[in-house]
Symmetry: C2
């Protein structure tokens, strides 16, 4: 069976909603950080640092938010670990998927 | 005679002071603009626009502020045109240099 078909229509709905909420949280957090940093800029060098900060943030967010069903378990686990998602927002996903996510999180927590 | 030797020690002093003052003015203006733009950021897309804006500004300033004696006449004329330098700050340069600058400015004003 292909990866996509492991996800039922109702699971896809849950996944999409959780993904979008986490993306909004990540962007919101970055905007808050950015505003703080921009407000603190006192020298040209501080200002150029913001360019580097934004480039880095954009790259990190682009890499983290990968909506492919083949990646989604690891993506959600990462978003939980980063604080952008709460496990409760994934209620509705099959138990085997949530278990896989927990194993990933437990494995990372050991590091 | 090489280009460098066209500039007397006292002219080099005047040039360096004017150049540094103009650079400070350009960076100050960019910082003010940046702070305004950053304060106005309301969406993630606005925020990523700031990255582009800063990259562009950094490149423009790097290109404009070229302290080579072979370039300095055109550089100063450009800085006057952009409002970062007043001709009076170049008092002490030889009349032929100031004349060359004025010709450059007049030529550009015609465009």
């Amino acid at each position: 069976m292909n990866v996509d078909s492991r996800w039922s229509p109702s699971e896809k709905k849950v996944a999409r909603r959780a993904f979008d909420a986490a993306l909004e949280a990540a962007l919101g957090k970055t905007m808050t950080e950015f505003k703080k940093k921009a407000g603190d800029v006192a020298t040209p060098s501080d200002m150029w640092d913001i360019e580097d900060y934004l480039r880095q943030q954009r790259r990190t967010i682009d890499q983290m938010f990968d909506y492919r069903y083949s990646q989604l378990i690891v993506v959600f686990a990462t978003l939980i670990r980063e604080g952008y998602l709460d496990e409760s927002q994934l209620a509705g996903l099959s138990e085997d998927k949530r278990e896989e996510m927990r194993r990933f999180l437990a494995w990372h927590a050991r590091e």
